[in-house]
Every structure is written in C-alpha cells, then in structure tokens.
Subunit: 260 residues, 2 copies
C-alpha cells in the first residue's frame, strides 16, 4: 500500500505530520504538499506557469516533497509522474477546521481528494472541526479517527469510481467520539462581512471578514453529526448535475430550432 | 433588472465585453471582474489578504470595476456591498473554452456563478466551446445565445434555490446552432502530461502540459449536445453528496461506539 499525503495548509503544518504518521501503519507514505497555505483556494489546475518541486523534511525528520502549486496541483504532479511508484490512495489533511456544507468546493483539502478521484485513485479529505480559539490543536484523536476510516476502507474493498470521502472529526477535549455517521452534505451558514479599511495613502482596501461560519444542525448531515459528537463521513461526487431541476428546465419554452 | 457581469479571464477580455453588451438589453449592468486571468483557479474565498477594487473602462468606453481577487471573490465583494444597488442576476463569461464535465469545479467562470447561488442570487456561467486554434473568437453568436438563455429565465420565473446554470455554446463558423438542450454534466477526458524542463541553472521545473481535453460523446450530456451543434444548458447544484454510495457506506462495519 502506497499512500500520498497532501494538505492545503502547507507541508510544515502539524495536521499533515499527524496524518502522515498515522498513515504509515498501512504501508509506504509519500508526502507532496504545498510550500505555503492555500486555504479556501479551490480546485486549481496550474497551467499558466510551471511549478517547482523540492525535497524537504517533516518535523519528525522524514523526507517529504513540496511544491509551489496548489493542493490539487500537488496531487496532479504526483500522479503524473513526480512520484514514480504507483499510488493506491490519496489522503489530504488534517485540516484544522471543518469542511462542511458548501465549504467542499472552496476547500483545498477536499479538492485535493477530488483531483485524486478524477485521476482514478481513491481520495479522502480529513478535517477536524475546531474553532479558532482551540489553537494549538491536539491532532492525536483525529489522526486515530483517520486510521479507523482507512481501516474500514481496506476491510470493505474500495470506494465507487468517482466518489471521494469527506471526513470531519469533532474536536473533543477529553471526551471520546460517540462513533461514526455516514452523512449527506449539510448547509453551511457563512457570516461574511465586508470590512473596509484605508491604507496610509488614503486608498481603500477590503477584507472578507465577519464571524466564523456556522451551519444548520440537521440529522443525517455532516454538521448535524459533528454537533452530536460523531465523526462525519460524507461521500461526495464530481457530478454536480441538479437532477431535481432537469424536468422544470426542460419544460421551459426553448427555441428548439434556430435554423431558418 | 440589475445584472452583475464577471469572468475569469480578466476585465479586459473580449468575451466579457460581449456578455456585458448583451446583458444591457435586460436592464442595468455592473461589471466587477478580476484584473488578471484566473483560468482553472477554482472556487476561491480570499481571506488571508485584503483586496483592492479599482475603477476602469471597458473597450467600449463604459465604466467597470476590477479587483485583484478571484472571480468568486469579485462576486462576493459585489454582493457584500462594493456594489450598493441590489443585484438580481450574476452572469459570468463568456469563457473562450468550454466548461464541460469535471471542468466545473476548476472553472473560475462556473465558480463565480456558484458564489452567486451561495449568496441566494441566480447565477449563470457562459462558455463557448472553441478550440485553441479558433483564436481570435467571434463572440457574436455566443452573446446572442446568452441573451436567449436569460430571456427564457425571465419568461419562466426563476431558478430553484441552490441551482446555477452552466451554459456552453458550440463555436460554429457560419452555421446556425441547432437549438438548446437541457443536459446533465458529462465526462471530460483530460490529456494532461508532465513536461519536465531544466532552467539555465540546471534545476528542473514542471509544466502540466499535454493535449487539449476532449470528452465522452454521450446523448443527454453537455459534451454530447455540443458535439451535435446544440447549446448545452446544464443545471448544477452545490450539494455534492454521492447518494448512490450512501447505502454501501452505511453497510460497512463501522465502530459504532468508541466509548468504553
């Protein structure tokens, strides 16, 4: 078993170290992760510039690769040949905040797993649902949860083609997880606000600020499971077709034929 | 009717001008688009740095706003208050290449429309399915197609909440479109290759290269409709739950309770 580990917080992030160490239980681990933080960077394919790949060391002294590409670029580079040995599984994380609801298309952690699935390799994104004030995080429990998820994957065969797993682990202090729930994607509630500031030269600049996002607590969803103290495992697909809107749209009066 | 126009190719791209001009038929048009090319940049929320917003002019002399944020940032900035007047519709494009199949999560054009829908505003992404050798493009037919789509939207009420439209127009030279098909998301076939080069100092750098992507020609899909000369209108949603995998995953033996 050969596992590629990446993340969106950068190769030196403690969450990546915890995940890489946890994955060594299952075989060989290769790390190729960004050289900087790419949070909320989305699904990137860098084609307008070349990318560099460097050797580095993780904080436990083990070798790793790092690139100036985005998380999804790191996966693409690895699978296109930077990593010569066949890769069986791509894991991404551990992200220090949950990737819940609409977060999944913004998230570098999740889009790295998407990139794996597009290339035909199973992909799993791991996040721990902490609050900003929880810092610094203890990744021990979430790394153990990541091991349990991968164990289940190996024990049950494989994932369907075109399906990735988005795993969110509650950040519990002292308590144990209640268990694991297979969930659907829930609803994030963003609290973004425009913050206008003025630079020393009198010119305005703008932050996307506001409070940390919350979510709709609903049974069967990622956010609902986390709120109850469960680990959330959400299968995600890359087919975004809104099937529920197809019939309505087909019923619109379209100009069927524009030829004279 | 107040329409926000953005794109991922930059505010001075001819496709944006064509779309902005076409939308003036329906009311007031405001442009807020990136100051550079963000192709394949994904769904971005820029929070680690502030953004600037500047006034500029389109090539037809009309005023526009431009920002150093990503396409989705431009939509967020506009809706969070940079544009004071209420926005009724967000359109993005016209992108000079198709956004088909898996392209939708990479595409700055499509993720700009996603950002609108997350904020509760209808969003439509417009792309023309040209080949690189078609350059420079005549945006006249695709701008006319964009008008037809928006006319249909207005005549039929609105889109369901959480649904955006991904519109792809075939690039036909001299022929007419055969009509409009409501489609599902098809399958892109990427032909990416790792291209290794060496800089003047003997150090390697890597391009994601290879041939232009193709797709699976299949009836009822975006790529199938385009291949037949039809305009493709695909409703997309932001719920990526892989429902077809839920039962299988629930059937895995999960450790139900980790408490002693």
């Amino acid at each position: 078993m050969h596992i590629l580990v990446t993340n969106d917080d950068g190769v030196q992030a403690p969450g990546l170290l915890a995940l890489a160490q946890a994955m060594r239980k299952f075989g060989k681990v290769t790390v190729l992760a960004p050289d900087k933080n790419w949070s909320a960077s989305g699904h990137v394919k860098t084609m307008h510039r070349p990318m560099r790949v460097y050797e580095t060391l993780l904080a436990d002294g083990t070798p790793a690769l790092t690139s100036d590409g985005a998380p999804s670029d790191c996966v693409a580079l690895a699978l296109l040949g930077i990593v010569e040995e066949k890769i069986d599984l791509v894991v991404s994380g551990i992200n220090p905040h949950g990737n819940i609801g609409h977060d999944v298309t913004y998230s570098g952690t999740v889009t790295a797993a998407m990139e794996a699935v597009i290339a035909g390799i199973p992909g799993i994104a791991f996040s721990v649902n902490s609050m900003p004030e929880d810092s610094p995080l203890d990744y021990g429990p979430s790394a153990q949860a990541a091991q349990e998820i991968v164990e289940r994957l190996l024990a049950n065969g494989s994932l369907p083609k075109d399906v990735l797993l988005n795993v969110n682990v509650p950040y519990l202090k002292g308590e144990a997880f209640k268990g694991i729930q297979v969930t659907r994607q829930g609803l994030r509630l963003y609290n973004d606000e425009l913050v206008r500031r003025t630079d020393p030269h009198g010119r305005p600049y703008y932050w996307i600020g506001g409070d940390f996002p919350t979510g709709v607590v609903e049974d069967g969803t990622d956010y609902g499971a986390l709120s109850d103290g469960y680990i959330s495992v959400t299968p995600l697909q890359l087919d975004l077709t809104a099937w529920q809107a197809m019939d309505m749209l087909k019923g619109w009066k379209w100009q069927a034929d524009r030829r004279p």
